[in-house]
Symmetry: D4
Subunit: 228 residues, 8 copies
């Protein structure tokens, strides 16, 4: 077999993506070996460009060359890493990330880290579950200050509908693969978000904190927060 | 083919059921023709016994013999009928039936009518949806007066979890086949009820208002309401 | 059975919703009978308030009282109606709605009509399919002018990913129930949108043009278009 | 990212839950690390409050601080633990837990232990399967003494229907993930319970012995056993 | 297009099947038009051969030529017909067909009629449901006289397991598409039969009474009933 | 919790099963620990009774007490064992087991060993696949000598239909969990068997060689092979 | 709403498609109204261009303007039509279309008509089913003459694997939505084709005779039949 | 049990397959143990015949006898091996294999290696994804030179439709099990390929690079590339 790409491996990376869609190409590490990741990082390094890695596990980090690892800011909870300091301009966008507990933390942090890569500091509300509704109603005024709310939930995902009836912000629902029995893999939370009675909720793939952050950044690409 | 039952058709009916399980055999009409229903009603008539019919449609009612129809109390919304007056002793059991709107009315009324057949008058709260949460919180004290709450909901069924975190009553969730897209047939509401974070919610089949009422009656078979 | 809501039917409607979430309660007509719709319209009429109806079919319109019908602006393609002139203040929000052909027209128009009810005039691009890619690339500059793009597609929904790699706008994907064989009910297009490689695409329920429009309006609640 | 909850971690726990719903917040350990569990236990310890842990595995128990472990009553079969002695007032509620064999023991014991945490001593009937029907019929009178029967079964779950036609008690069906081939994960037993011909059976999520016990406790919150 | 079969349409029929597998080719009418059925019947007529038709509806019967209709013994309940008198030699095979009620009658009769076409007179037990277990236990001795029992059931199909633990006969389970909610189309009964704890139950497709009868006839092809 | 069975553990075993259904209770080992299996074997030992174990793995065998292990005839391919020599009377029943290759061997041998436990020696045809049809047609006469054919196949299971059109024997189809992609777990082979065009094929659960053998033994309970 | 396409409706059609992919744009009529079809036909008429319509039903044909209808060659069995005579150059490509009976005729003819539109005359073998294997083996030499075989089958689709092991031609499998019970909608035949043991079978969507013909035409675009 | 095949194990292999279908029997290793593979290789060795192995893992290779391993050309990425040098005559067939990145490499290489076994050298285009559309459009002329394009993609598989609208070649789509959330196992890419709007795309099982190559070889069996 002959390979049309082998000679100029760097060509594979889409360095022009940010100019088209306002977002850089991130490196999704699930099926990539440590050597493959290493060769990608060197391509970024050669261009003095930072990059975001997702779905990265500690074993692969440990297998990277020391000088690359030294440039890596790795967060094991979310499996994200910044290669080289992105040093983004801080952006004024206010984003809240709401979740029900520690089980959803990996997805919450993937969203927060993706936003941070682009200069947006999100605020986390990590104990807002539906079963103890007072935890949500007590925070309602605080939550209303955020024009974008990323809501992260597994199991039956009832929080999406409750929030959607209480605030006028853009709500981006991220279902998570937390649950068991009839709700093993996030499909129930996904369907609850899609089938919600509350109008105007939008949804990402299961566990896709990265995608929710990118959607928020797409808003920031084109809009400015309105003063109330 | 020879038929071991044909000679004594009446034997098919389980007239002793109430003595075993505290509930009479109800007539589920979906796949029964009008003549088949008629012959069953005559068997009850011959024994001077009332019966409850479910999933009955107006066309079949219209096709029954006039003298049987005269003894029928038919409710077209729920598709239930009482054949002969059951004249039950009123029971002290307090049951609330909670739902979000007119779409769930057939199931709500099937539950209420089944309870009425056995002498229990349920109270209906038919506009308690999650999207307008104030409608639920305003009624909370009223709802807490009921030791059994039958909650009826379609779509994403978020009400089950919200209720489950607010009251200490027995909550019987009845998912309904109301919805579209990812939630066409009640499966989403069913899974939301089963996979709820709120502890101790129990669930019936989709659209099974009859079953929820029977579960409440099973409680009444064996328990007395405790004074608070 | 006794009904806690029957006495004051009007209470069921959530007239305060707009103040909470920036969107009025719309009337979803699928399981509502013409008399039920009529009684809801009279409640709005009594308050001199306009309302949006969705999933309304011509038979029910024909069954309404003449004086109500006279106040109805009905669009049979999308099954939407405005009751009383909403007379919204025009809003500066620029929204494009992109689709591949006439099959998706009902959903496209549901989104457009919902936006119109709130004073947003959307621009439609109704022949942008992936099979004839030139129809998309020719329009790319025109599309980039819109900070929000609602993309409507059935079948395999390949347009979502292609668009997501070409523009930096917020893309709201609406899968439609157009297709056959392995793709009969919109689930394939839904999953293609959710599972897209393109970062930051958000998704609504199948055929939910109304929901996509509401999400765009949630953005408009809180943001102003940024000059480029 | 900034965290609205980090400063006062204890606030996350819902210590008021029992006053609302008659059940304390239990600690579901599946996605919680040993350090996270440890910090939760310390919060309970600081308030001199007992708590119930579910889905806890021996590895996490072994990783806890010795002084916490000393206060832990751990049952490896069910994966439940009592932290500090709950010392409940014994309750008069009579509950039978019925199952077909050793495979269902983890779920049976999760239900029994949850009841014990609240002062209810359940009676176990662990060899009642449908294939050897005499084992059920021989015990029928004994079973009828229990106003609540928690029935635990995997595979095709035929026991739910058989029991439902023989006793007038409240039957709470718990499908289990025991089986293979077409019945690998408990869905068949779940559907058998929901779709049973026997009237008034209510159902919990797959393997949810905890939920079934909580439902029984909800009955006990509000009802007293009736003398026969 | 040219057609390799058009010239000799009769060739399509497999008149030699009985010599190979002991069963004639039956005519499955679902997607066949009345003219197509008519042409098939004429082919049988020309050979003085009887045939069995299944899934035939009254409208198609009415549309057949009068002289063909005169040779048709049609049963509208099961949708089966005998074309020309099969006049089979009576066979000694004893087959019981067990079911729970009138809803399963079409499938019960399809099995009985198929057996009758081949000279086997089945005995029907049509009121043997699990909810009223006494109806089964009372008949147990009678049932044990049959070395082959075809069990027909919809909903949760609990009868398959109960029977399988009580008799030593060959049990052929036929799940039916009777039910609603989680059990709408027979899949639950099918899985209950396949996943039964009782050893040695064999299963046919949903509603396939014809197939169950053919399996019984395959036994009769090769075996003789053993005296007890 | 108190346990109604603990005192007389032996009572759990159904030693009378053979007299009812002609088959002993087999020990399904999947969720049983080595100590649990050991205690069951001792109960059999105390009664001088042989038993069949299925789904047994070598690790559990190695963990048994030496004196029990000495009485165990274990087959690692099928995961079956005979505890104590069953020493069955040889039976005249002729059974063929047909399969396509080495992947199906565990299921083939589970069926063969179950038959052997009851004195039936099956003949194996292990290379009969549809892709090389000549391997089937060459053996056709040999196969026709068997009045019962157990057909074992994974993937698309085409062999069931081909066989069903060629022989007049009773065909018991056992789908296996061999395959990948759209056919990962045996469901495709299961559905091919159930949905086959060939009349009178009966089916067991996926991988259920034990069940197929039991069905053959049920035939042998009541029938004698007919001379041709 | 403003529409970017309304002014020049004709632009929607992709008249350049044939030059890109060797196939014209066909008109899929399922969700198109008669007026919409009419306006498309007029666009073709204005350019003196023939077109192929699929999934067209007689009611829509009857509703077309008479002068358009006069130019329509409509086949009601397949729901296809040629608008204006395509008058293709006959092509030498030899294609066989194999199926098991009259139920599959609509799909068989859709494939044959699509080929005819482009000048390829297919040969039909419409009685080749697996249950009567001799009908296939008798025709084997005839079938081998065709370098492309389109195999059309519903139910369990066993023919795909059998053919794939017997001929060296390109086999394009078209599963059809013929069946019932576990095989109601063509998914079983689809999976049988995809999961076949026979190497190198390729597959189209369910009922997609048009697609299979297009695949054959793509071969003809680039290849010539090799003499043997 | 007696085994009809054991004596002449070699007979299992289908050495005549190539003469029937133009493809040799390949050895699918997933459920074969190293000793089983070894015995198959010895059979080939004894006949001086090369063979292709698929789904082979390095552990099994390491467990083979040294002299067999010496004749093995093993590729760990694709899990394929050539046993003995096939030394095929080079064939003129031009095949391109297109994919989006390193995750799909195992499937890409399985296809390429299968082609190489038969003398066809494929050209790989491994960075053609839809999100960076320019990578496809830049290569379009190069791709059009190939009359057969094997397109390999996971996730939402949008590339199939885009390609299908741009080239006139035969496109064989191979969906891969790359993805997460709603797209975990390749089913989404499979359905996108089957449900594509682009006409004439044909599809193989998930991850079946071998099958796609075999389909290309079936074309080569019977056709010659046409000069343009």
């Amino acid at each position: 077999m002959s390979d049309q790409n082998e000679s100029s491996r760097e060509a594979v990376l889409d360095f022009e993506r940010a100019s088209r869609i306002g977002l850089d190409e991130a490196v999704f590490c699930t099926r990539k070996s440590a050597p493959q990741i290493e060769s990608i990082l060197r391509a970024f390094d050669a261009r003095d460009t930072a990059c975001l890695l997702t779905h990265l596990d500690p074993e692969k980090v440990a297998a990277l060359a020391r000088e690359l690892r030294a440039k890596l800011d790795f967060d094991p909870v979310s499996g994200t890493a910044f290669f080289r300091d992105p040093a983004p301009k801080p952006r004024a966008l206010k984003v809240a990330i709401v979740s029900g507990g520690t089980s959803d933390a990996p997805v919450v942090r993937e969203a927060a880290r993706t936003l941070a890569f682009y200069g947006v500091e999100a605020t986390l509300f990590q104990d807002v579950g539906v079963t103890g509704l007072w935890r949500l109603t007590e925070r309602l005024e605080a939550l209303r200050a955020y024009p974008i709310i990323i809501a992260v939930a597994g199991m039956e995902g009832a929080i999406f509908s409750v929030l959607g009836g209480l605030v006028d912000s853009l709500i981006i629902a991220v279902p998570t693969s937390v649950g068991y029995g009839v709700a093993p893999d996030g499909e129930l939370a996904l369907h609850s978000a899609l089938g919600s009675c509350a109008p105007g909720i939008v949804v990402t793939n299961i566990d896709n904190g990265f995608g929710a952050a990118c959607a928020a950044l797409r808003v920031a690409n084109r809009f400015s927060t309105r003063e109330r």
